[in-house]
């Protein structure tokens, strides 16, 4: 019987080999790469990194979260990669596309398994979360002239313990935009200049019919998902506007500061100015920008959520950095700047090759093309040509960012903070708890999170 079994094992093994040979064709190897680069993608930096990448055939994977299907992905795969491979025929690049809803789990999974994409696309606030698990890239960027072109504020987002862990890829500032025609209808000839004026304006503009809002004075970008019950990122922006900080010098949370209290109270006041009680339905979900729908007068967000910058409606929109609070002398408008970026995890076995691809992607031309897909800003100032220069709205946003910009970075244990704020803020706004309870809950819960994570003793 032993002989029969041996034959059986051998036959099944051969069958398995045959079956696997019928498997789909694997990814093309570098030898199959076209030799001519397309015209739109740009040349790679010519400088050699300190540690040169291997000459052996290598495939690196890049996880992308900021992309427009059928546009960004095509550009990356059909233009950027072939152009890169013209310079580096031995390095193949594959892409993994994910969405923001699953980004955290995907990245956690990579780090947990100690393997995954060689380049990962991270959000603005992630350096505090993953900084120590990303490869330091200083030596690879040492002789890359392009690196010096990045705006210093964007480099803060990617720097951990003095070392760059990646490159900024996309810069999206958030500012206030008001439809002046709708404001004028409500008797306002100027945009609000103070916290109180914002509340007043929101109440004056808002119109409710049949238990539902048909015209709303103000909405922050994240409120579309919370039914008008606050935006946690706006809360942080307001604290900064009032001159406050998120952390004390010893690293403990500072959410019980006067600035945090005032920010939360303002959010309540503006909510109540628009929702007299909690029986009123918020604005409906719309396709496209709410500002262009005649249903919203003022909006806080980036240009993705705004009407296209070539839309004539911009003649009626005023773009401004924010407002101040007379009771807080240090208050000053803040334009919250989100810098999404690309990093190389420390587990990658192809750090040199990944860094090489980052340098290629980080050229002024590539950053310009990529950011033109989103109406965002290339994080390199020498990439501010074409759509950035030619567009008056972009120019205005660039001015605001330079004058009032503050990077949305160093948010510790982001996922849990987001959860806390997204629970506590709506409870306060809907009268389920008072201000002191809300502040106390945020402060105590976040302190516990930071303690558990070992960030504070």
């Amino acid at each position: 019987m032993g002989k029969k079994l041996l034959i059986l094992v051998a036959v099944v093994s051969v069958l398995a080999l045959l079956l696997s040979a019928c498997a789909p064709k694997p990814t093309p190897q570098p030898t199959e790469v076209p030799t001519e680069a397309p015209t739109e993608a740009t040349e790679a930096p010519t400088e050699e990194a300190t540690e040169a990448p291997t000459e052996e055939a290598v495939t690196i994977q890049m996880m992308v979260v900021d992309y427009i299907p059928d546009r960004t992905d095509k550009w990356l795969e059909e233009e950027v990669v072939p152009a890169f491979q013209a310079e580096h025929p031995n390095i193949n690049v594959e892409f993994i596309y994910v969405n923001w809803g699953t980004l955290d789990e995907t990245v956690q999974g990579y780090f947990a398994a100690g393997q995954g994409a060689d380049i990962i696309n991270l959000g603005s606030e992630y350096i505090a979360e993953y900084g120590d698990r990303l490869a330091p890239l200083g030596e690879y960027f040492a002789d890359w002239d392009g690196f010096a072109q990045f705006l210093p504020s964007t480099l803060d987002t990617v720097t951990w313990e003095g070392e760059p862990r990646g490159i900024p890829w996309l810069t999206a500032p958030r500012a206030y935009m008001c439809r002046m025609d709708l404001l004028e209808n409500a008797g306002w000839d100027h945009v609000p200049a103070t916290f109180d004026e914002m509340v007043q304006m929101a109440g004056d503009v808002t119109v409710i019919e049949n238990g539902a809002i048909v015209l709303k004075g103000f909405q922050a970008t994240g409120e579309a998902a919370t039914g008008g019950r606050g935006d946690w990122q706006e809360f942080i922006s307001l604290i900064w506007t009032l001159g406050g900080t998120l952390y004390n010098e010893d690293g403990t949370p500072n959410f019980d500061s006067p600035e945090a209290r005032a920010a939360l109270q303002y959010m309540y006041d503006i909510h109540r100015a628009q929702f007299p009680d909690e029986t009123v339905a918020d604005l409906p979900e719309v396709t496209g920008a709410l500002l262009a729908s005649d249903m919203l007068a003022c909006y806080w967000g980036n240009l993705w959520g705004a009407p296209p910058t070539n839309d004539p409606i911009w003649e009626r929109i005023e773009l401004f950095p924010g407002f101040t609070h007379p009771d807080f002398p240090a208050s000053s408008p803040v334009v919250q700047v989100f810098n999404d970026w690309l990093a190389v995890p420390a587990y990658s076995e192809h750090v040199a090759e990944a860094a090489e691809f980052l340098k290629f992607l980080g050229s002024a031309e590539n950053l310009n093309t990529y950011n033109s897909h989103f109406g965002s800003f290339p994080p390199r100032q020498d990439a501010w040509f074409g759509f950035v220069e030619e567009d008056a709205v972009m120019q205005r946003m660039a001015e605001l960012m330079q004058e009032y910009g503050k990077g949305f970075a160093d948010i510790r244990e982001t996922a849990q903070l987001r959860d806390i704020l997204m629970t506590e803020i709506p409870l306060f706004l809907t009268d389920a708890q008072d201000l002191e309870t809300t502040i106390g809950n945020i402060q105590s819960q976040y302190t516990e999170v930071l303690e558990e994570a070992g960030r504070i003793p």
Binding site: L15, E105, G114, D431, Q433
Partner: protein
């Protein structure tokens, strides 16, 4: 993975895949031989004859891919999660033994767990009976063998296949939009045409808000919202359900979707109804039983095994609601009102990287489901009648 295999995976993925496939097959055969051999040895120890041993070997040989698969992919992870439940485990760090700390925290200190557990119980206590009632009502209608009942059966069952798909949940988001969703538009239109309906809608709004606010008070130990709603009094004309926009309405929105997708329960009920002997119903009619009396005293007792099955399966399914919190109400919102145990478990494990804590929660959920099921089985002796 050894370095030479990693190199091979990059340089020749086809050969690498082939080697893995062959190795897997060889492993399956070897493990089958081992399981079969062990079974044969046991048979020999127990003094069985040659034919018995021969049949035992081949029986276990062919069953062993499933046995080994179960051991490796079900029992192994289950035992691992049991161990992790007693550890603080945050990848990439190794697990650290903390004893009962996770369980104590869950049962005494974690407000989020209390919130999620009460949310799940709300769905079980209020949502499941409504779902079962709707399923029974539809099954009774289909039982009448009306013209085209086959088509109706398909129509009522279709939502089961679609109910928790992301596309369907997003469609529900639009249907339930408080401002201009089709459901509220219909409620408004009917309310304008028939004033008593408008009053009924307001009464329904008041009832739901009071009950949800009371539950929130219980969850958080703060009854401020309940007091506010009582102070506000009966809703003013034009009040409408706010569905997923509001923490008081998000769970009723999910119950509505549950009712819409109760086709599987409906099928179970229908098959039970079709199994009732016609003579019994005819005898009841001859004895002068009204339709209601037939339902109450004949049909319901006879289909009680189906009710019991739907109840047990429904409780287990309701305690494991996940997709709805993830897609429809986005991250268990608003204000954690759709934070259910299964969702919190997933979030703790995969988003917050608290694997030990998540494992403890999953075991606690298992115990809760087990206890509820055992209670059901015990109570079933009183009301379930098997023919």
């Amino acid at each position: 993975m050894p370095a030479f295999l990693a190199d091979l995976a990059e340089s020749n993925p086809r050969l690498f895949t082939s080697i893995w496939a062959a190795a897997t097959v060889v492993f399956i055969i070897l493990s089958s031989l081992a399981v079969g051999g062990a079974a044969r040895w046991l048979a020999r120890v127990r003094g069985k004859d040659r034919m018995y041993r021969h049949r035992t070997f081949w029986g276990y040989f062919f069953a062993s891919p499933w046995i080994v698969g179960y051991l490796l992919f079900v029992l192994g992870p289950t035992l691992a999660s049991l161990y992790w439940g007693f550890t603080r485990y945050k990848l990439p760090e190794p697990p650290q033994w903390v004893g009962l700390e996770n369980y104590i925290e869950l049962l005494t200190g974690d407000q989020k767990f209390r919130v999620s557990l009460l949310n799940s119980l709300y769905m079980t206590v209020l949502g499941l009976p409504l779902q079962m009632g709707a399923a029974l009502a539809v099954a009774l209608l289909l039982y009448q063998q009306l013209r085209g009942h086959h088509l109706f059966r398909i129509i009522y069952y279709l939502p089961v296949m679609l109910a928790t798909s992301s596309a369907m949940l997003i469609t529900w988001r639009l249907v339930l939009n408080p401002n201009n969703g089709i459901l509220n538009t219909i409620i408004r239109e009917i309310g304008e045409a028939i004033p008593p309906f408008e009053w009924l809608t307001r009464a329904g709004v008041y009832l739901v808000e009071l009950s949800s606010a009371a539950l929130m008070g219980l969850q958080r130990g703060d009854y401020t919202l309940l007091h506010r709603i009582v102070e506000r009094g009966f809703p003013t004309p034009g009040a409408i359900p706010l569905w997923h926009q509001d923490q008081l309405w998000s769970k009723p929105a999910l119950i509505l979707i549950g009712i819409w997708s109760s086709g599987a329960m409906m099928l179970i009920y229908l098959s039970a109804l079709l199994g009732i002997p016609r003579e019994i119903l005819e005898a009841a009619r001859v004895d002068g039983a009204s339709p209601w009396q037939q339902l109450r005293h004949v049909i319901l007792p006879l289909i009680s095994p189906a009710t019991f099955y739907n109840l047990v399966v429904g409780i287990i399914a309701t305690l494991q609601i996940f997709e709805q919190s993830y897609v429809l109400t986005e991250n268990g919102g608003p204000a954690e009102s759709t934070y259910f145990v299964a969702y919190y478990l997933w979030r703790s494990t995969f988003r917050f990287n608290k694997i030990g804590y998540g494992a403890a929660m999953s075991w606690l959920l298992l115990v809760i489901v087990l206890v509820l099921t055992l209670i059901q089985f015990r109570l079933s002796r009183r009301w379930v009648h098997y023919a």
